[in-house]
Every structure is written in structure tokens, then in C-alpha cells.
């Protein structure tokens, strides 16, 4: 087996040093009833690289990759172009095959890029402090609610109807099993929801998304003021981080915690994961944050260096009193994010953002010109909702049959709600072209 360096001669020699007759002796603490005499039954034996590669080609051949079809799906995962440098960098063995920087003297590479990552996240979000990443935006959002509950010592979270439906489900699940109240507003397809009147003295936080799941762009400054007047926190979720190149950052609206799905920068679609959660807050809440933090310090020679810090918040020190049970972050995905954002810089990131908005605008104009199709958004970034004259799910299936991945039927994520049955969510990034948009429009005209 190509991955196993020990030869039979090595094994014999090692056993003799140990003083064991066979490797079975080393497993003598396993109860006899559970010791397998032979390999696990019913599974194939080892294979060469060629055979493994073929098997995966066979899986791949049964899928339709967005690169081969007109593609307009977003809903929390966006297809952007990732520069080749990014993928090259994250495959360097020194990054790929290193672990959590427990020994800072020989992991300054990881620690420095995480420090730079944390800084980039604060700049994008307009916040004061950020951690070294979360699993993804969805789990990070639930952690933000728990953090708000800890800070306010309250146990009621108001969840916007503009928040991604799966993020809402995760908060609901967390609320059920970890014991707090999540009040979920109804789906807000029109972008007209106003939660100010619902904030009261029991509210720990309000969770909103910008742009919303349905694509609407909102200013939450007044909501932030209402939250603060009631002693509650405002959590702003951003599932399309590219929007922050054009939009007023949540920090400038008064957000207390900002959670973003960072996948759009540096990370491919990957069928849903792994992604990277960005998590930022105010300095005053620093010690209530979940996840890892990298801080600057000096070494014994007085030279600048970086270390994991404030770990007294974390499970390996605090155990049952930890701020979260989280152990890993999304290290390599955070590296992809930071490399891509460094390539983009101010000028590139802003232009990328402009391009996305422009492409989506063009798509919105084209699609809403189809008879019977109504654009629900006055405002959007790179994603918007249209109302079709009939249920969207079969329309999307009909488009797929024509080789077009034409958006998400909202009913897939919000089932059994007649008010969203005809809604189609469409996204366009810089990867969209007229050669993709025009076939979508033509096909939509046919199937509607």
C-alpha cells in the first residue's frame, strides 16, 4: 500500500523491540468479543491512484457542473471566478498539511495570515474586531445569537423573515436544544418587514440579513438604534460578502455582531462546503466571542510575532464554562479568502462588486421584460426575486431539462407556503454573460 512506509521486516524488528510476538498482542485490551479476526467484511480492497481517479470521474459525470451550463443560482452560495494563485497557494504543503498553530514559533505563516484575515474582516464589515473564522456563515449566525444571549443575559431572539431559511432553521434548532426562544417572522419576500416595534426589554438580539435572502438592500440604522434603546443587540448577516464592496457596511449601521458567509471570496461552490464564516463585533464584546483569535506580540528577541490568544474563552481551557464548544476554524478556507482578497485589493474588490451589481441589473431587466414575470425588488445587489405566473419548482425542473440552471425556486427552502410558491430567486455574478442570460430568457418564455 503506497501510503504505508513500514515493511514486514520493519514490523518484525519493531515488534521485537517492543517485546511483542505479533501486532495482535498490542490489541489485547480490546475485549475478545469485539476483536475482528479479519478485515471488515463487505468492503473492497485497496486501489491504485488510477482506479480511484476513474471512480471519481464516474461520480462527476453524473452531475451537471455550472461551468457547462447557463447558471443563475445564489441563495447563500455564489459562483465567482477564483484566481489560479489562490488554489496554488492553499495547496502548498506548509499551509495544507499544518495544523492549528499551537506552537507559534513554527507556525508564524498561519498566524500571520490569520491576523491579516482578521484585519480584512474588520475593514469589510466596518467592525472593530474579528475572529479567525467560523465553520461557515450559517453556523456562525447561530453562534452570534448565543453570544448575544450571553452578553444581554436575555433569551429571546427575533429572527427576520429576510434571513436565509436554512440559517433560520439552524437558529430554531439551536434554540430548541440549547434553551432559548427564537421568534421567527414570516418570510419577507417584498422586503417591507419592520421589526422595530417587536423589540422589547426581553429581546436579546434581532437577526437580519443584508442583502436579504430575497435580495433586498436595507438600511438597519434605525433598527440598531431601537435595539440599543431596548438593551438588545443587532446581528447583521451577509451571505454575499462581495456586496460589501459597494454597500454601506453593517458596522456603519450600528450592528453589534456581523456574520458573513465568506465563500464568495476565494472558495468555490463545492456543493455546499467547506465554506468560511466571518465573525466580527465591537471591542467591548471581544471576550464573549466564540472561536479562535490571533493576536500580535513579541518574541524573546523583541521581534513582532503572532500567537493564538484569549484562549481562556475556549473549551480546552474553560471546558463546561467555555463561550462555545468550537475547536477548529476554517483555516484553509480563510487562507483562500485572504489570498483572493489580497489579490483584489481596494480597487479590484470594488470593481468586482460593481460588476456583480451591473450583471444582476442586466439580468433583472431582461427577465422582468418577459410577460407575466414580476420583479419584486426595488433594490438588490447581485440577486433578486421574481414572481412567475405559475409555481417556480416545476419551471426550474423544466429549465434544467433544457440544460439551464435557472435559479432557485423559493419553495425548495420554504415549503408549504403558498405565498412563495411562484417565487424564483435569480443571481448573477461577474461570471454571467449574455451568452448565458439570453438562453435563460428564451427558455423561460418557452416554459412559462
Amino acid at each position: 500500500m503506497r501510503y504505508l512506509p513500514l515493511t514486514d521486516a520493519d514490523r518484525r524488528e519493531m515488534l521485537s523491540v517492543i517485546g511483542a510476538k505479533s501486532v495482535d498482542d498490542l490489541f489485547k485490551d480490546v475485549p475478545a468479543s469485539a476483536r475482528l479476526g479479519a478485515k471488515v467484511a463487505g468492503l473492497p480492497d485497496h486501489q491504485g491512484e488510477l482506479e480511484v481517479e476513474r471512480a471519481f470521474q464516474a461520480f462527476a459525470a453524473k452531475n451537471v457542473s455550472p461551468g457547462t451550463a447557463p447558471f443563475f443560482i445564489g441563495a447563500g452560495a455564489y459562483r465567482h471566478h477564483v484566481p489560479s494563485t489562490v488554489d496554488y497557494m492553499i495547496q502548498r504543503g506548509e499551509f495544507l498539511t499544518s495544523y492549528t498553530p499551537y506552537q507559534p514559533e513554527i507556525t508564524q505563516g498561519t498566524l500571520q495570515y490569520l491576523f491579516e484575515f482578521q484585519t480584512q474582516v474588520t475593514l469589510l464589515t466596518g467592525m472593530e474586531v474579528a475572529n479567525a473564522s467560523m465553520y461557515d456563515g450559517s453556523t456562525g449566525t447561530a453562534e452570534a445569537v448565543l453570544m448575544a444571549n450571553r452578553i444581554t443575559r436575555r433569551h429571546k431572539a427575533l429572527i427576520s423573515g429576510g434571513l436565509h431559511p436554512q440559517y433560520r432553521s439552524i437558529i430554531e434548532t439551536t434554540a430548541k436544544w440549547e434553551g432559548f426562544k427564537a421568534v421567527l417572522s414570516k418570510a419577507d419576500a417584498e422586503g417591507l418587514e419592520d421589526l422595530i416595534a417587536s423589540v422589547d426589554k426581553d429581546t436579546s438580539c434581532v437577526v437580519v440579513q443584508n442583502p436579504s435572502f430575497f435580495g433586498h438592500v436595507r438600511d438597519f440604522t434605525k433598527l440598531a438604534e431601537a435595539c440599543h434603546a431596548a438593551g438588545a443587540l443587532l446581528i447583521v448577516v451577509v451571505t454575499e460578502v462581495v456586496s460589501l464592496g459597494l454597500l454601506k457596511p453593517p458596522g456603519d449601521m450600528g450592528a453589534d455582531i456581523v456574520v458573513c458567509e465568506g465563500q464568495s471570496i476565494g472558495n468555490g461552490l463545492g456543493f455546499g462546503g467547506p465554506y468560511v464564516g466571518l465573525f466580527a463585533t465591537r471591542d467591548k464584546y471581544m471576550r464573549q466571542m466564540p472561536g479562535r483569535l490571533v493576536g500580535e506580540t513579541v518574541d524573546a528577541d523583541g521581534k513582532r510575532g503572532f500567537v493564538l490568544t484569549l484562549s481562556t474563552r475556549e473549551q480546552h481551557i474553560r471546558r463546561e464554562k467555555a463561550t462555545s464548544n468550537i475547536c477548529t476554524n476554517a483555516g484553509l478556507c480563510a487562507l483562500a479568502f485572504t489570498v483572493h482578497l489580497t489579490l483584489l485589493g481596494e480597487a479590484g474588490f470594488t470593481r468586482l462588486s460593481e460588476l456583480n451589481h451591473a450583471k444582476a441589473s442586466q439580468l433583472a431587466d431582461k427577465v422582468s421584460a418577459i410577460a407575466g414575470v414580476k420583479l419584486l425588488n426595488d433594490s438588490f445587489f447581485n440577486e433578486f426575486t421574481v414572481k412567475l405566473p405559475k409555481p417556480a419548482a416545476p419551471v426550474v425542473e423544466a429549465l434544467a431539462a433544457k440544460g439551464i440552471l435557472g435559479g432557485l425556486p423559493v419553495s425548495r427552502l420554504i415549503p408549504n407556503d403558498p405565498s412563495v410558491e411562484n417565487l424564483l430567486l435569480l443571481a448573477a455574478t461577474e461570471t454571467a454573460t449574455d451568452m448565458g442570460m439570453d438562453p435563460l430568457v428564451a427558455a423561460l418564455k418557452e416554459v412559462l
Partner: protein, 547 residues
């Protein structure tokens, strides 16, 4: 924004405010290393990207956006972001230099106990990047992702078969997330039986990973620690005494964090089940037994599997991980959404109760833990690793991992102090008694290993052993490399025991990109981001530009 820094100052990196940097280095002077740049051959000092940027530079070329009507609701960003501008070659150099400050599995022995730092094959990276696998949207029509769903199901099949368990929840994003999933499933099962309110206690050995008590506490359980016996195993009598009608579950790592197999595991699981509680197994150490022992045969109710440990998905500097949870028949109905179900010849994804019902599947999912379908990129790599090994190779993995750890233990036991009688499983645990009266601590010993070209072992964990050193060589090291590692440790031991080497150990590491870092300073006055004013070098002409 900082425009630029003098390169020699930027490379030197300055000292942090109040950090007591040893002597300011003026531009043009030689640094503490006796070079103009502060570099040492291949070790190149590297500034932060924020100290390198120029507004006129960009590392991507993007077309001019078409002119369209602004639909941003008047919320256009009013101020700049503050991101530095770098060209592509600068970016490549920056991250390449940073990478060279890291130790990695690709470089040599990485014996970090409990983390299973094994070889990461590159075929796994390659297949994960096939367009038909890596470039798929999670919410594409299900008819266009049949191969992806089949792939997930195939990995699920391997995990179930290798563990002897009937079901697996694939969506947890990491081991700790898997723990949360498993413990929620237990809470859900208790609720279904009407016992959730009365069963509030979770038992966990004192040697448990910190995530275990953190998870249980987050779910509202009270954690009761169970002591170890003098053999490093759960004290069965103490466990039995703690068991009662108020106990929801035991969370037990097996092989345990001392690197030992819980030899009374069958009695433990029987005792736990006898009082109506569940057995959560922390599968962090599955590498020791994969292909040789099925946890299902030990009476486990659920166990998370760290794909980045046993199944070699890259550790990536601390993630991403993946933590599928195998479940017993009693807990299977509570697995979270999504469920991947075969309907005739077609794969379906059930994302809600209605979908489950329409597929005719019974279940009472505990909810949803993560958006989309789980860490697909990790599933792909793990499955490639598993298929490469096969059932025969995986058995050999466990055997070689255990053999290597026992070899290290045997070769060091006369000079170091094993914490418990052997044989061990896949990791060898030592305490610090061999360093008694030498003035050298576990930390010093570990730091001296860095100068010998090794990543240190896990230090001070598990907590139940004084000055613990936990060495996990894994199956990936050749015997010659293990021998050199053993030789290095024996040499360090000898030096420490002279009784006159304490100062030398305390000065270690000397040859790494940085020497010991002041962690107290980092925590006392946290600097968690770059700011223009963090630490401009004295008299820096750009200081004003920066502010």
C-alpha cells in the same frame, strides 16, 4: 492607509507598542541577525500586507462594468474600505514566504497527540477539484447532482460498515459540531421518551477533551467528572456509583486520551444502558482501531468521526474539518436534515418533514445544524483516501499506527517516564517525572524539539497526567524517521538530565523563525488587527501618511 515602508524596517517587523523591542534598528543598520535585511538565507522577514500596499496596484484584471442604473437603495458605501493594493507576484511572494515559516506534515514527523497528523495524499486534492464535483451548487436541481449524492451515500456506507452502526448524520462541520449533533440526538431521544427533564447529568472522564464538557453544558446538562483508575482507564466502580435515573449519557473517548483502550468498555456500556442512559463515544482516536474494531460491537450509541484525523482530509492550519456522526438504531430517527434517500433509481434530498413523508421515510429529525449538505469537499477527500486503502489497507493503518506508537514508547521508556503500563494504542503518553529536578519543564523540552527539526508532541494534555507529553507518530512515518526522532528525544533527555542544561532549554527554540513569544502580553493588551498606528517604527517618515 500606509503607502509603503522602508523594506528593511518592514521586514524587521518592528516591535509592538510597549513590547520592549530590543534596540530600534535604523534603516541601513545591520539587524540582530547581522544582516542588512534581517533575513537569514531562506528565512525571509515578511511585513503585513497592509504595510506593503500601493493604491495603484491590483492583482486581478477585471473588465470595466457596464453602466447600469444603481439599485442599491441609496446605500452605496460612502468611504473607502482600506484594503491594500498588491500585484500578483507580490501576493505570491508574500504567501510563499509566510508558508516557509510553518512546520507541516509534508516536512516530517508531526507527533501531535490526539490530532492524527498523517500523510495527506494529493490524489484526494485532485479529485475534489474535478469540475463535476468541486464546482456544483448545493441547491442545483437534484436531478443535476445525482453523482454528488451518490458520492455522499458511498462514504456514508463505508463509515457505517467500518463502525458497525446502522445510520450516519453527515452534515456536522467538525468534530465538536458532531458532538453537538450526537448529544442533541440523545436529548431528542430522551424527549421522545418523556425523560429529558429528569435526566440532566452527563458523565465524562476527567481526561476528556474539553469539547465534551463544553458541548454537554451548552445543551443544559450538568457535567459530572468520572475519575480514572491507576491504569489510566475509567474507574468502573466510580462510574457505577455515579450512574442513576438522572443520567442522560456518558461521553467517553475510546481509545481514550491517555492512548489506552478502555478494556472494560463492554461493562461500561452495559452499565450505562442498564440505567437507561446513552453512550456517546468521542471518535477522535478512531485511527487506532479502524478496520480492526467496530464501535458498534462495543455498545456505542453514537460517535463522531473526525474526517481530518482518521481519514486524512488536510488539517489546513486548523480546519476545515468534518464530523459525521454514526448513530445506533435508537438514535437514527433523530438525525438532522438533510437526509439523502434513494427513491427507486433516483437520489433525493429530504430538507424538511414534508419531503421525508413524501418519500415514505419515518423519522423525527432534531432539526438542522448547517446550511446545505455538509462538508462535501471533505467527503470527497475522505472517500478517495478510504478507497485507496480499502478494507485491507485500513486495517493495516490501525496496526501500523499502534505498532509505531508502541515502538516509540518501548524505545524511550528507559529514559522518559511512560504515564501508564503498555501496550498503548496509537499514541504514547509520558509524564514529566523524568525531568524532575532538572529545571527543565515539559514546555522547555517541547521547545527544544523544535530546534531538532520536529513539531513538538501535544503538551499538558490530558490534564490527568502531570506535565503530559502525548506522542502520536501515526502510520505515515518510515522506521528510519522514527529512529531519528527517538534518537533526538533520547539526546534531549540526556542533556536535560545533566542538571546543567536548564538555561539552554529555556532559551529554546533558537533556530525557528521566531523564538518564544510573549503570550501574556498578547492576552493582557490584545492587538487583534492591524491599525495604521499599531506600531509604526520610530521616526518612520510614513507614520503621518499612515494616520
Amino acid at each position: 492607509m500606509v503607502q509603503s515602508l522602508d523594506r528593511s524596517q518592514g521586514r524587521e517587523g518592528g516591535g509592538r507598542e510597549g513590547g520592549g523591542r530590543a534596540g530600534g534598528v535604523a534603516a541601513g543598520a545591520t539587524s540582530t541577525h547581522g544582516t542588512f535585511t534581517g533575513n537569514r538565507a531562506l528565512q525571509i522577514e515578511e511585513p503585513l500586507i497592509f504595510e506593503m500596499g500601493q493604491p495603484g496596484r491590483c492583482g486581478v484584471d477585471l473588465p470595466e462594468p457596464p453602466k447600469v442604473k444603481d439599485r442599491l437603495n441609496g446605500l452605496r458605501r460612502a468611504r473607502t474600505i482600506g484594503l491594500p493594493g498588491l500585484s500578483e507576484p507580490q501576493v505570491v511572494q508574500h504567501y510563499t514566504r509566510l508558508s516557509q515559516k510553518n512546520y507541516a506534515i509534508d516536512m516530517g514527523v508531526y507527533p501531535l497527540g490526539s490530532c492524527t497528523m498523517k500523510h495527506n495524499p494529493r490524489i484526494n486534492e485532485k479529485v475534489a477539484r474535478f469540475a463535476g464535483i468541486g464546482d456544483l451548487h448545493p441547491l442545483q436541481p437534484v436531478s443535476t447532482v445525482q453523482g454528488a449524492l451518490e458520492l455522499i451515500d458511498q462514504l456514508a456506507h463505508w463509515l457505517k460498515t467500518l463502525t458497525g452502526m446502522p445510520a450516519v448524520a453527515m452534515s456536522p462541520a467538525a468534530g465538536a459540531h458532531g458532538e453537538m449533533c450526537g448529544m442533541m440526538a440523545i436529548a431528542a431521544a430522551l424527549e421522545a421518551k418523556g425523560e429529558r427533564a429528569k435526566r440532566k447529568v452527563v458523565l465524562a472522564p476527567e481526561s476528556a477533551h474539553g469539547t465534551n464538557p463544553a458541548t454537554a453544558a451548552a445543551l443544559g446538562f450538568t457535567v459530572k467528572p468520572i475519575p480514572a483508575n491507576d491504569r489510566g482507564r475509567v474507574d468502573l466502580a466510580a462510574l457505577k456509583a455515579a450512574l442513576g435515573p438522572d443520567v442522560a449519557a456518558i461521553m467517553l473517548t475510546n481509545p481514550n486520551t491517555c492512548g489506552l483502550f478502555e478494556s472494560e468498555i463492554v461493562e461500561i456500556s452495559k452499565a450505562v444502558h442498564d440505567v437507561g442512559a446513552y453512550f456517546y463515544c468521542d471518535g477522535a482516536n478512531f485511527n487506532a482501531i479502524v478496520g480492526r474494531v467496530r464501535p458498534g460491537d462495543l455498545g456505542v450509541d453514537c460517535m463522531h468521526i473526525n474526517l481530518h484525523k482518521t481519514f486524512s482530509t488536510p488539517h489546513g492550519g486548523g480546519g476545515p474539518g468534518a464530523g459525521p456522526v454514526v448513530l445506533s438504531a435508537a438514535l437514527a430517527p433523530y438525525a438532522p436534515y438533510p437526509w439523502i434517500v434513494k427513491d427507486g433509481d433516483t437520489w433525493r434530498v429530504a430538507e424538511d418533514g414534508g419531503a421525508l413523508k413524501s418519500l415514505g421515510v419515518d423519522g423525527a429529525p432534531l432539526g438542522r445544524l448547517k446550511a446545505f449538505h455538509g462538508q462535501m469537499g471533505m467527503f470527497t477527500r475522505a472517500l478517495a483516501y478510504i478507497m485507496s486503502h480499502g478494507a485491507d489497507g485500513l486495517k493495516q493503518v490501525a496496526e501500523d499506527a499502534v505498532l509505531s506508537a508502541n515502538y516509540v514508547m518501548a524505545a524511550l521508556k528507559d529514559v522518559m517516564s511512560p504515564a501508564f503500563e503498555g501496550p498503548c494504542m496509537h499514541e504514547a503518553l509520558f509524564d514529566d517525572s523524568f525531568l524532575k529536578d532538572t529545571g527543565v519543564s515539559t514546555l522547555d523540552f517541547a521547545k527544544a524539539m523544535i530546534d531538532e527539526g520536529y513539531h513538538p508532541m501535544t503538551m499538558y494534555f490530558p490534564l490527568v497526567v502531570h506535565g503530559a507529553m502525548l506522542i502520536e507518530p501515526t502510520e505515515s512515518q518510515a522506521k528510519e524517521d522514527l529512529d531519528q526522532f527517538i534518537g533526538a528525544l533520547r539526546s534531549l533527555t540526556e542533556r536535560a538530565k545533566t542538571g546543567t542544561a536548564a538555561e539552554e532549554f529555556k532559551a529554546a527554540p533558537r533556530f525557528s523563525p521566531r523564538r518564544r513569544l510573549d503570550e501574556t502580553l498578547a492576552a493582557r493588551k490584545p492587538i487583534l488587527r492591524w491599525r495604521p498606528s499599531n506600531n509604526p517604527p520610530e521616526g518612520d517618515p510614513m507614520k503621518q501618511a499612515a494616520e
